[in-house]
Amino acid sequence: MIKDIIVFLKSILLKRRRSRAELPFNLVFSRFKDILNSNTKALEIMADMGDKLSGDYLFDINYIRKAYSDLSEALNNSIRSFDTLTEKRGPQKIKGFSGVIIKYPELHDVFARIDGRIKKMVYGEVTGGDIPLIVLYEDITWDMRHAVGGKNANLAEVKNYLKLNIPDGFAITTSAYDEFIRHNGIDKQLKRLIDEMNLAELKRLIMGGNIPPELDSAIEEAIQRLLGKGYHRCAIRSSAEEEDSEVSFAGQFETVLNVPLNKEKVEDAYRNVIASLFSERAITYQKRFEFEPGSLRMAAGCLVMVDARASGVIYTEYYSHKTSGILINATWGLGKSIVEGQVDADRYFLSKEAEPGLIEKRVGKKKR
């Protein structure tokens, strides 16, 4: 009898120990505290906004932007911590991967949708007056992210603050996009052409559009600067306002590689990037995430080409089919074929922890 009790107790204790090994108590406690703290912070920010709305204060759009940015960050932190608390770990295999499973992925979708809508309202009032047409990467700061687009802003952060080796280049801003669209009279036809889904005509207008003189000179000046540093080719990359934010727009817009550093060629590639905002696929994607087609503005990045032996894409927060972790896709040469899904790339799946561990590796059938 006593032996049976000891066996029973052992089984319970061992079971508990196994469960603790899967999600350490200190991590659970820390994430629980994070949820409470983020929630408290969110409530404080909302209370403060209510206070400012009382009519006793003079405030402007900068206050609203700052307050919402803090609120969005607090809610985002809360969701991430909630993911950790509710996640399941174990041998489950979903679409070839094993690892952490997010229990409520819908939360991310709902948050991204609401966050996108509010940011559109809060930042929609920015006028192009103060924004230069071209900004060099070293001059880009985070508060310019709506002018230079998400991709340029993120790359510039990595370059200027983390000091990682990012190719030299410049951003062609949303202000330049506005100028281009206005200069060619496209603004007056944009809504109608989108409503009629006459995207071929829209593309024709963009591809045949003239670059406004001020933008033309600014591009020439920026190119001369890169030529002066000994570069000869560049990539013109899309960097739409909301790209690489909560909604990634991965693979939706155009990137033109190996563009000679020559004004006409760069401007042609720039037109291609702008036109990709209105491809049927991109319009469908925008509608899916509740962006009104035609309202999103396109900035572009001009980055010097790197002679790549191998390249890849890393998803530091990979959520798909309830699987979560770090995903790296890699191939020989340039990475464009990966983004466009044209190559059977190598796939590395890692756990998202302080010291990421390799969960799965698969070498793709690809040519050098």
């Binding site: 006793d56 003079l58 405030f59």
Partner: protein, 127 residues
């Protein structure tokens, strides 16, 4: 403010956000001030050439002219007019520069309207 009724005091508000101008005008007029608002500094300075205002409340960062330039030009026209600067981009350097430039007061936004009114009262107390 001893010899003049509050109704005679003229306040100019310059801010490139309409909501700030509207709220300032509404609450200052409730106290009996005569208030004129401007969304840009250039037309505000032109208006000042026509008529003197007792206090100018101006945003620190505007599209057309820097508020410190507004401060200099107001003081050149009317040394006795007090200038209060409000800003969303509060930093120590800007504050020091504004106060050295003879600004009467400097407030970071959001500004409590009661504090702004107190400051205006102080600015007018010797007039």
């Amino acid at each position: 403010m001893n010899n003049r009724s509050i109704k005679n005091f003229k306040i100019m508000v310059i801010d490139d956000e309409k909501i700030v101008c509207d709220m300032a005008k509404l609450s200052l007029e409730q106290d009996g001030y005569i208030v004129e608002t401007f969304l840009n500094a250039e037309p505000a300075l032109k208006r000042l050439e026509e008529e003197r205002f007792d206090v100018v409340v101006t945003d620190y960062k505007m599209k057309d002219i820097d508020s410190l330039e507004v401060l200099r030009r107001v003081k050149r026209l009317y040394p006795e007019t007090e200038v209060i600067i409000i800003t969303a981009f509060a930093n120590l350097d800007a504050t020091i520069e504004a106060l050295r430039g003879d600004a009467f007061d400097f407030f970071p936004k959001p500004v409590k309207i009661r504090d702004l009114k107190e400051s205006i009262k102080r600015a007018l107390s010797n007039k």
